[in-house]
């Protein structure tokens, strides 16, 4: 990794946010909790433009959701006077939860996206201070037919393409939608993805896609962890093919891609929707370097057995040279790998359920 910085790991849980830092990604210093007793389903670390802005999507069961940011690594937090993400009076809706905070690419430094519950996508052009509701998706004619998964009806994944105006969104339930015009119009892109829980198992939309990640080299290649099924596409989602054949199970929530190398992705399989534990209690991160044709399990340093699930945003990579891989379990353990997912060390254990983690190399 870079010798000029340390790694910041933001850990959002069901009862607060913890910040961990390390110079070698093996020994970690972990903060006291921020926002104790609030759920933190989303975090982001925006390192574009030579500065570090940390985001936290908070959710108080008493006082509702809000988005805050920090420009001093969590020493202080800011929420704009009118709030960052709010529906208007004519929308007839209230923000329930912020599931995703996604900084755009380097050449769009002020742009930050958010995916929320109810199913909605939001875009900021002022570095995440304020967000505007994406009307193309909000007014989509499919909206009445989108449904709620167990966690609620949410746009949980927003993936702007670094190459052009393409944006992919994944929602549960609804599936993958793609915009080719920066978010003005959206079309379902689910061909090949199963919705086995519906009478018609191959609908245009209605799939329960749990997570999608974009390939580091080819923006038309994406990988999806579905509610049963793991898939890849080479044409921006026009068609998807199964890559689950050599995995121990095809259920799970996590999908990660390498920050620079094409064809590399990670999943953390769970047995099935009816048995949401690592297969046989064998917690492992499975990695492919060939786009899903073959997979290798990384479990060195992980406890055995472990019967805890890993949720969709409770895993991430960093951008270091030899990428780090991180994840946290519903049992409150957080693990870090400094060797691209081959071996892991525990960062901290016994936290509340881990909902979100993000890592980045930061100055200092």
């Amino acid at each position: 990794m870079s010798a000029a910085g340390s790694t910041l790991l933001a850990i959002g849980t069901r009862k607060g946010l913890w910040l961990a830092s390390s110079r070698d990604r093996r020994t970690w210093t972990v903060s006291e909790p921020h926002f104790l007793m609030e759920e933190i389903p989303s975090v982001a670390i925006d390192v574009r433009g030579g500065r570090v802005r940390l985001f936290a999507g908070r959710m108080s069961w008493h006082f509702g959701p809000c988005l805050v940011h920090s420009d001093d690594l969590g020493a202080s937090w800011t929420e704009p006077r009118e709030g960052s993400i709010r529906f208007g009076p004519a929308d007839g809706a209230a923000l329930e939860r912020i599931w995703q905070i996604q900084p755009d690419s380097e050449d769009r430094p002020g742009v930050v996206w958010a995916g929320c519950q109810p199913i909605s996508v939001w875009r900021s052009t002022d570095h995440g201070e304020t967000f505007e509701l994406n009307r193309g998706l909000w007014d989509h004619p499919h909206r009445p037919d989108w449904g709620a998964g167990f966690g609620g009806a949410a746009a949980h994944t927003v993936l702007p393409s670094p190459r052009d105006a393409t944006v992919h969104v994944a929602m549960s339930t609804g599936g993958v939608y793609r915009s080719d015009d920066g978010g003005n119009s959206w079309h379902p892109r689910n061909r090949g993805i199963s919705a086995y829980f519906l009478p018609e198992p191959a609908p245009d939309f209605g799939q329960c896609v749990h997570k999608v990640a974009r390939d580091a080299v080819d923006p038309d290649r994406l990988y999806a962890q579905n509610h049963r099924g793991v898939y890849a596409t080479r044409d921006g989602g026009d068609s998807w093919q199964s890559i689950a054949e050599r995995l121990p199970a095809d259920f799970g929530f996590v999908m990660l891609t390498h920050p620079r190398r094409g064809g590399t992705a990670w999943v953390i399989p769970l047995e099935s929707d009816g048995e949401r534990i690592p297969p046989g209690g064998h917690l492992a991160v499975h990695r492919t370097d060939d786009g899903g044709a073959t997979w290798e399990a990384g479990d060195t340093g992980l406890p055995a057995p472990d019967y805890n699930a890993v949720l969709r945003d409770a895993a991430c990579t960093d951008t270091a040279d030899v990428a780090g891989v991180y994840f946290g379990t519903r049992g409150g353990s957080v693990y870090a790998s400094a060797d691209e997912g081959r071996s892991f060390q525990e960062v901290i254990g016994h936290l509340p359920d881990v909902l979100s983690v993000r890592a980045a190399v930061v100055p200092g």
Binding site: W61, F63, C66, G83, G88, L95
Partner: protein
């Protein structure tokens, strides 16, 4: 003129720069909705913690007018007299 006093719970004081109470002119606080509308002007983040964007009182927030819980009265239409004390409380929810 006898002002209306709104007591702010500890957890929400970051939204009022630490103030424990907010006083309102009775003409702008004739019922609970009007109180919240005025709070929305003075301290918009505070109002957003109490009501959502549709105007609905958040499920686990309780408001008492002179000791009476508004869900047992006329909810946001509950009248507020001059000199009243409005207490905002989080309910005993959570796990």
């Amino acid at each position: 003129m006898t002002s209306v006093t709104v007591l702010i719970p500890t957890l929400l004081r970051p939204c009022t720069a630490g103030r424990k109470e907010v006083t309102l002119h009775p003409d702008e606080a004739h019922d609970v909705a009007a109180v919240l509308d005025r709070l929305g002007v003075l301290h918009p983040l505070l109002e957003g913690r109490i009501r959502d964007e549709t105007g609905a009182l958040r499920r686990f927030v309780n408001i008492y007018v002179d000791g009476e819980e508004v869900r047992r009265l006329d909810l946001l239409g509950t009248p507020v007299r001059a000199g009243a004390t409005i207490m905002i409380m989080q309910s005993v929810a959570g796990g």
